[in-house]
C-alpha cells in the first residue's frame, strides 16, 4: 500500500492536473466514501455494543449507541461457562451454544476440504495445463460445464447418495462432495499453470526429475501465491456454507458453527429473542474469519482482480 500509493499519486498529479482542478468534487467524493465505510462498519459496532449490554437494561435504553449496563456475561453464557440459572437470570434460555465443539467441527471440515480440494485440483490442473493425454481438452470442457450446474440441482441427489452410504452425521458426509475437486479450483489453477515459464520444468526434467517430482518440487513452490488465494477462497466457502452441513450434519458431534447459530436462533422463543446472547454468539463465530482476514486480507483484496478476470 505505502509503496503503490505515493507513486501513483505523483504520477497522476504530474500528468493529470484534473484532480486539483475539482477539489470540491474530491471533497464530496471523500464524504460519499466515508458514508459508505460507515454503512459497512456500523452494523459490526451495533453487534459488539449489543453483545456487551445487559439484556434487561438494553430493553429500556435501546437508543444508546454504546453498551447499556456494560457486562461480559453474554459471552460467558453463550460459551457455556456459567450455570443455567445464571444464564437464565441474564436473559438467556439457558441454552449454551457449545462453541468450542462447533468451532472444532468447523475447523475440521474447512481444513480437510482445503487440503484435499486444493491438492487434488492442483494435480489435475497441472495435468490439464502441461501433460499430453487423450481426451484432455474434452474432460476439461466437461469440468467447466460443471461450473454452470446450480447447487440446488445436485443438492438433492448428493443428499440421497450420502444417505444411502449412511454417511449422514459423519465428517465424511460433510466433506466428501468437496474433498476431491471443485471445477472452479481446477479452472483457476490451470489458468495460472498455463502462464508459467516452461524452462524451469525442462531443466528439472533434464536433472532426472519425474513428473511428480517436477510438480512437487518446482510447480508447487513457485505457485504459492495462487495456491494461497484458492486455499483462502475454498476455506471461506467451506466455513460459510450452511445448507449442506444443515442437511447432513445436525448431530452435535459434527455440527458446524453456521448450523449451530441457525439452530440457536430458532431456539430462542418467538416473543422475546435473546438478542444479547445471539449477538455475543455472532461475534464469537466471526473471530476465526476476522483473524484470517487480518492475516491474509490484503492478499484477498489484491487477488480479486485475478479471480475476477478469469
Amino acid at each position: 500500500m505505502t509503496t503503490i500509493l505515493p507513486a501513483r499519486n505523483t504520477q497522476a498529479d504530474g500528468v493529470r492536473p484534473l484532480h486539483r482542478r475539482i477539489s470540491l468534487g474530491r471533497i464530496i467524493a471523500w464524504i460519499a466514501l466515508i458514508i459508505a465505510i460507515l454503512i459497512v462498519i456500523f452494523p459490526f459496532w451495533w453487534v459488539i455494543r449489543t453483545s456487551l449490554s445487559s439484556q434487561k437494561e438494553m430493553l429500556a435504553a435501546s437508543n444508546s449507541l454504546g453498551p447499556v449496563g456494560f457486562t461480559t456475561i453474554n459471552y460467558f453464557r453463550v460459551l457455556g461457562l456459567v450455570d443455567v440459572a445464571t444464564a437464565q437470570a441474564a436473559g438467556g434460555s439457558g441454552q449454551a451454544i457449545n462453541f468450542f465443539l462447533y468451532l472444532r467441527n468447523s475447523i475440521i471440515v474447512a481444513v480437510l476440504t482445503v487440503l484435499g480440494q486444493v491438492f487434488f485440483c492442483a494435480l489435475a490442473a497441472y495435468a490439464f495445463a502441461r501433460l499430453k493425454f487423450p481426451l484432455r481438452d474434452e474432460i476439461f470442457f466437461i469440468y467447466i460445464t460443471g461450473l454452470m450446474i446450480p447447487g440446488v440441482v445436485t443438492l438433492i441427489p448428493n443428499f440421497i447418495l450420502i444417505r444411502q452410504l449412511q454417511w449422514q452425521n459423519t465428517f465424511l458426509g460433510l466433506i466428501a462432495p468437496y474433498f476431491l475437486m471443485s471445477p472452479f479450483a481446477v479452472f483457476f489453477l490451470r489458468q495460472f499453470f498455463l502462464g508459467l515459464n516452461k524452462e524451469l520444468e525442462e531443466a528439472a526434467k533434464l536433472d532426472g526429475c519425474g513428473p511428480f517430482g517436477v510438480f512437487w518440487r518446482i510447480i508447487l513452490p513457485i505457485s504459492l501465491p495462487p495456491i494461497t488465494t484458492i486455499s483462502i477462497l475454498t476455506f471461506v466457502t467451506s466455513w460459510n456454507s450452511y445448507l449442506w452441513p444443515f442437511l447432513v450434519g445436525q448431530n452435535e458431534n459434527v455440527r458446524v458453527l453456521t448450523t449451530a447459530l441457525a439452530i440457536f436462533r430458532s431456539q430462542t422463543p418467538q416473543g422475546a429473542p435473546d438478542w444479547t446472547g445471539l449477538m455475543a454468539a455472532t461475534i464469537v463465530s466471526m473471530v476465526p474469519t476476522l483473524l484470517l482476514f487480518l492475516i491474509v486480507g490484503r492478499r484477498v483484496v489484491n487477488n480479486i482482480q485475478f479471480t475476477g478476470f478469469k
Binding site: 500528468v15 452494523p43 484470517l292 484477498v300
Partner: protein
C-alpha cells in the same frame, strides 16, 4: 502414423494407440486427474443425471420410486405456487441486482478517483467474507420491528417505525438490502480491478477535449468496463436466483409466503414433504431458466458492442 516405422524397427513395440492412451506421460496424467475425476463423476456428473432421472419419478425416499414420466413437469406447469415463487424470485433479483451493481460501479469509481488504499478496500470486502447466516442474524437484529437500530433512527426522526422482515410488503426488499450490504463491496472490487486496466491516456485525451468528469464516466469508463460488467452481471444474477441462506435464517419463506422464493420451494418439497421427484423437477426447471437467462444476457450484453479499444 509413425507406427509403421516403429513396428518395423522393433517387434515388441506397442501400437500407437496403446502408446497414446497408456504411454508414460498419459499414465502419469491419468494418475494426476484421477482423484478429481472420481470427485467430478460422483458429486457432479452422476448427481446431475440422477436428478433428472428422479424428476421423472415419485419418490419419498422410504419406498421404491415409481416412474411417472413427465407428470411432475405437467404438474409444475399448472402449479400456481411454483409460478408465484418464480415471480417472487424474479422480483428479488430485480430488487437486488440493479441497485447492487450501480452502487458497486459508483463505489469503484469513487475509490479509483480518491484513494487506492487497500485498507479501505479491505473494509468493503469484509461483509462478503462472513457467512450469510451471520449477516442475516446481524440484520435481523438491526431491522428488529421494536428494538432494532434502524427503527430507533426512524423513531428519533419522528417517522413511523417499520416491521421490515415481519411485513409481507417489506420482507423481500429487506432481504434484498441485506444482500446488497453483503455483496456490494466485493462486486465493487471487481469493478475497481477493471478500472485499473483502463489506460490513463484515454482520460487525458478526454480532458484535453474538454470532457467533463460525468461525460468521461459515461463515454469512457462504462464502455471499457463492459467485460467486467458482463462477468459480474452473469455471475451475480445466477447467484441471486439461488438466494436461500438469508431467507432460511430470517423469514423462512414468510410472512404469508412473501419470501417463498424458488429455492425455498424446492427445499420445502424435498426436506419438508419428502417429495423428491417433484422437488428435483423444480430444480431442473430452475437450471433451464438459468441457462436461458444467461444466454439472453450474453446476447444482450454483446449486442451493443461499443468498446473504444
Amino acid at each position: 502414423m509413425s507406427s509403421i516405422a516403429s513396428t518395423q524397427s522393433s517387434t515388441h513395440q506397442s501400437p500407437a494407440w496403446v502408446k497414446r492412451w497408456f504411454g508414460p506421460e498419459s499414465r502419469i496424467a491419468w494418475l494426476f486427474i484421477l482423484p478429481s475425476l472420481i470427485g467430478f463423476i460422483t458429486f457432479y456428473a452422476v448427481p446431475a443425471i440422477r436428478g433428472l432421472v428422479i424428476s421423472f419419478t415419485n419418490w419419498d425416499m422410504l419406498t421404491a420410486p415409481t416412474f411417472v414420466g413427465l407428470d411432475n413437469y405437467s404438474k409444475l406447469l399448472n402449479d400456481p405456487v411454483f409460478w408465484d415463487s418464480l415471480g417472487k424470485t424474479v422480483v428479488y433479483v430485480l430488487l437486488n441486482i440493479p441497485l447492487q451493481t450501480a452502487l458497486a460501479v459508483g463505489l469503484a469509481a469513487l475509490m479509483d478517483r480518491v484513494t487506492k488504499s487497500s485498507l479501505i478496500r479491505g473494509i468493503f470486502i469484509l461483509p462478503w467474507l462472513l457467512p450469510p447466516v451471520i449477516v442475516a442474524l446481524i440484520w435481523l437484529w438491526m431491522l428488529d420491528p421494536t428494538l432494532g437500530f434502524i427503527n430507533n433512527v426512524l423513531r428519533s426522526l419522528g417517522w413511523q417505525t417499520l416491521s421490515f422482515l415481519g411485513s409481507p410488503d417489506q420482507a423481500m426488499p429487506s432481504i434484498a438490502l441485506i444482500n446488497i450490504w453483503q455483496y456490494t463491496g466485493y462486486t465493487s472490487l471487481l469493478f475497481f480491478a477493471g478500472l485499473q486496466t483502463i489506460p490513463k491516456e484515454v482520460y487525458e485525451a478526454g480532458a484535453i477535449d474538454g470532457a467533463s468528469e460525468a461525460r468521461m464516466f459515461w463515454s469512457i469508463t462504462l464502455p471499457l468496463l463492459r467485460p467486467v460488467l458482463v462477468f459480474v452481471l452473469v455471475t451475480s444474477i445466477i447467484g441471486s436466483f439461488q438466494i436461500f441462506d438469508t431467507i432460511a435464517v430470517t423469514t423462512k419463506g414468510g410472512p404469508v409466503n412473501a419470501t417463498k422464493v424458488i429455492t425455498w420451494y424446492i427445499y420445502d418439497y424435498a426436506f419438508g414433504r419428502f417429495q423428491m421427484g417433484y422437488a428435483t423437477a423444480i430444480a431442473v426447471a430452475l437450471f433451464i431458466i438459468l441457462i436461458v437467462v444467461t444466454i439472453a444476457q450474453m446476447r444482450i450484453l454483446n449486442a451493443n458492442q461499443s468498446d473504444l479499444a
